[in-house]
Amino acid sequence: MLNPIVEINDLVKEFHEKRAVNRVSFSIEKGELVAILGPNGAGKTTTMLMMLGLLRPTEGKASIFQHEPGSKNVRERIGVMLQEVSLMDGLKAKELIKLFRSYYPNPLPMKDLIQLTGLGKEDLERRTEKLSGGQKRRVAFALALAGNPDLLFFDEPTVGMDISSRRLFWETVKGLAREGKTIVFTTHYLQEADDYADRIILFKKGKVIADGKTEEIKRKMSKQSVSFIAKEDIQRERFLKLPFVTDLMEKDERVYIVTDDTDAVLSFIYGESLPVKDIRVEKGRLEEAFEQLTETEEEAI
């Protein structure tokens, strides 16, 4: 934690007295590929806009490369894809990319950027307003990379992309991460965060409710249980005092032991020869756990 590339401290954003972001803090190190995950209205985009200097925080502070967000120095080193931004019309895709290259001190070669768009010769010569939604997103992706940035921000990047564009996009992003670029993206798709991010920052109602390696978050989120029908009464305490048991519930004559180690529960049951029958091991699906954890809130803005 010596030189965080992104650092945000106690960030608060209020819109008309309503808190969209409520005391959020985290820092991101060089080379991390971070997903900001959460349902719509959880404050992900608002937080990202504050990191970019597009929104002023009500309280708290964000800094990038230890500079003020939005300063020229920062803008030359970041690449951004925002939601609901269309391309400048009246220019051909190729002309727009060329124009963007002129903004940066060390742009990527034109040839690389063209490759990133995946557009053919003909489409590159078409005006941006004549491109399909997916093609526009890909041009926007090339624009984000025009300056060969060290740090990339993607706000819901794959919305509007078809499956093959999506795959191509993520493959490229993985490659960029391998090159040592730092990447932050927001998403409300658990799958995307799980598949591509090294780290997940989980948002709910404007707060960070979990932050850690993808594996850890997954383990935390996915509940497992061992359930059975008890032939005689078994004291609840016998299970609850076990270190690997987190909870015990009874439902439809079945007893559910919630645990993070189902094997240990099974060996306990057999070891103690408990009077139970019809034992089942259930692994909660990650998606369900995610939904439970975050329960879609109404839009915060």
Binding site: L54, G70, V80, L82, V85, S86, M88, S102, R127, F153
Partner: protein, 244 residues
């Protein structure tokens, strides 16, 4: 500097590719010109009146694209998030904005040339070299308050509102400014209103130049005053919008 040149070039290209520009700023004034001087023959082939009306139509063209293109573009780009996006790139907002003005001015130079050449070639308008240059420069410089008005329209939230308002302003200014028909044949009240609006003073400077006179000081004062006024109001509105 390179950023700025590239950006201005891009803005110029975008305007030339805009079919509305071609229609409203080139085709319409030229068609009007021929309609009034040839078909209606209002001036009975009086060479001064032909030159006068050529100035009216050139001013009409440049005024229109100043008000409409500038304002509507700005609203559109804000509505589409482009203005926000520019703020995360190294392109300074000032360069983004001034490139629009530079790009637009180049396009105006083109409009002036095309309309002047049309008048000279097809309607035999004869002016001295100095008069051509001076009147052209007057029209380019005098368009500044209308660019200012465009910027003011550019602070509107909705594209539809901006289109509607700028169209109405454009027409009202053109008529009360004596660009379609000479000021003296308009009703007295309209003349009075027209003289307190910038369009008449814009046209009047060019009308004076082709008659071998210098533009009235009043024309310069009125145009400058309107430019300052529009700028102050735009800045005030922008401040209020950005306070969020």
């Amino acid at each position: 500097m390179n950023i700025f040149i590239q950006q201005s070039k891009a803005e110029m290209l975008r305007m030339f590719r805009n079919p509305y520009y071609i229609f409203w700023s080139l085709l319409m004034p030229i068609v009007f010109y021929f309609f009034f001087t040839k078909v209606m023959n209002v001036g009975k082939d009086d060479p001064v009146w032909n030159a006068h009306f050529l100035m009216s139509m050139t001013a009409f063209s440049v005024m229109g694209s100043s008000i409409m293109t500038m304002g509507i573009r700005m609203v559109e780009e804000r509505a589409k998030g482009w203005t926000t996006f520019i703020r995360v790139t190294p392109l300074p907002s000032l360069a983004y904005f001034s490139a629009k003005i530079v790009g637009q001015t180049f396009v105006h130079v083109f409009s002036v040339l095309v309309i002047f050449i049309t008048g000279a070639l097809f309607n035999g308008v004869v002016l001295s070299f100095g008069e051509w240059i001076l009147s052209g420069c007057w029209i380019l410089l005098g368009s500044l308050p209308f660019l200012g008005l465009g910027v003011l329209i550019g602070t509107m939230k909705k594209v539809d509102t901006a289109v509607g308002v700028s169209n109405i302003l454009y027409m009202v200014l053109a008529i009360t400014g004596g660009m379609w028909m000479p000021m003296d044949i308009l009703p007295k009240t309209i003349q009075w209103i027209g003289k307190s609006l910038p369009a008449f003073h814009f046209g009047n400077g060019a009308w004076a130049i082709i008659r071998g006179n210098a533009p009235d000081l009043m024309n310069i004062v009125m145009l400058s005053a309107y430019l300052v006024l529009f700028m102050i109001i735009s800045i005030y509105i922008r401040r209020k919008q950005e306070a969020v």
